[in-house]
Symmetry: C2
Subunit: 240 residues, 2 copies
């Protein structure tokens, strides 16, 4: 047993982050449906940077300055904004090379509360393998911060965090201590055969389905579509 | 599909209770290791009532009045008190017919925050079947409130909550909507073949093992040792 193993732990909600913070070199912010998936899709499409903002008010200020600004609340585009957090919004030609601003219900809130950590990166199922390999190379104490849904536990973020944990533990360089991390790993192991089937009962998936976002859901739940790892630098997400 | 089905949901920690409260007729407070297990053991042994108090200060006040008072913090008996939350403490002859007072790290805190719910009962693996049957008969919206460990998610409480959910859903009279409830059910289903083996990696179990509480752990993780259902009435737990 390697005693120098680093920790890979899972925090289920932004509200619980206060019990974890300060102990981790790297925080991976996860909001599978859909903010961090959309962010990965945007960088894959050549966006230059994304400024995550916590409130709609901040988003409006950036809009007044002429930025391309997206805002989503409760699964829908906020009135007065051009896009929300559908990954497909970010695949347009006009987004390439741009600096854009984004505010979402859960994901950008999680990015905001994690912003004081030494290193903050963005995780989703879309960049899973690339992210896992990079985290393995860093070999630092790592926390997966799930965005949840309105401060409650969320199944798809936890399964993604469990996938990251399981990979890192399998390298022999990492270990988990927290019960939340152990549970995330178990949930991932029972989900992985068929993630879309497994998550069909997820409350958030049902919520999005009611908004006719099935294409978004299918895209966000399909692993390894990109190698990009968005990283937070001076309040801005850029491509690593 | 029965549209009149009641809800059985799971709240992972006392800190998240604020997002659930007010919507449930019955709250089941769970602290498998060890407060709610000890409470079930106490009533099984003929204790008359248990007054749960949140703070050590309140516990001391009752001690001054001549009550039998237990207090536990971080797995150990608090200095100046005669017992903590080991179920074996409550099996003594001298406890029969007595009114006792108890303050613990997590369990009595959860009881305290749930105390305004219409009905509050105590759940553990020890009274699992009796509790499930009673909840089925009540057929009301029910929330399992896990006590967690120092405000963090806890595996054994969640597995117990998942067992209750799975039973109630299987009756066809209940359904679950929250992702936390779905996760608890999955965790229970993967744990149930061998709960002690499954929970061997649990952080709290490891913590108690370091305090040489293996007999307590084995007892608390052995389901269906009693039919008692402790219920909160006017701030006091009594046998239903």
């Amino acid at each position: 047993m390697n005693d120098n193993r680093k920790h890979i732990e899972v925090c289920f909600t932004p509200g619980e982050y206060e019990y974890f913070k300060g102990e981790y070199d790297i925080v991976v912010v996860i909001d599978v449906l859909r903010a961090t998936s959309a962010i990965c899709a945007a960088f894959d499409n050549g966006v230059n940077s994304i400024i995550p903002v916590a409130t709609v008010e901040e988003a409006k200020e950036y809009q007044a300055k002429g930025f391309l600004v997206g805002a989503e609340r409760k699964g829908q585009i906020v009135d007065g904004f051009d896009f929300g957090n559908s990954p497909y919004s970010y695949m347009k030609e006009e987004f390439r090379g741009q600096d854009i601003v984004l505010s979402t219900t859960n994901g950008t809130k999680a990015l905001s509360i994690a912003s004081n950590a030494p290193t903050v990166v963005v995780g989703s199922l879309l960049n899973l393998d690339a992210l896992c390999q990079w985290l393995e190379e860093q070999e630092k104490n790592t926390l997966c911060l799930c965005s949840g849904w309105q401060d409650k536990f969320n199944l798809e973020d936890t399964v993604c965090a469990g996938a990251i944990s399981e990979y890192l533990i399998s390298t022999g360089k990492f270990t988990s201590d927290e019960d939340s991390s152990i549970a995330a790993k178990y949930l991932y192991l029972s989900a992985w055969v068929n993630p879309i089937g497994y998550l069909k009962s997820s409350s958030h998936r049902r919520r999005l389905k009611n908004l006719n976002l099935n294409e978004d859901i299918k895209y966000c739940l399909t692993p390894n579509q990109t190698d990009v790892i968005p990283i937070l630098r001076d309040g801005k997400l850029v491509k690593l």
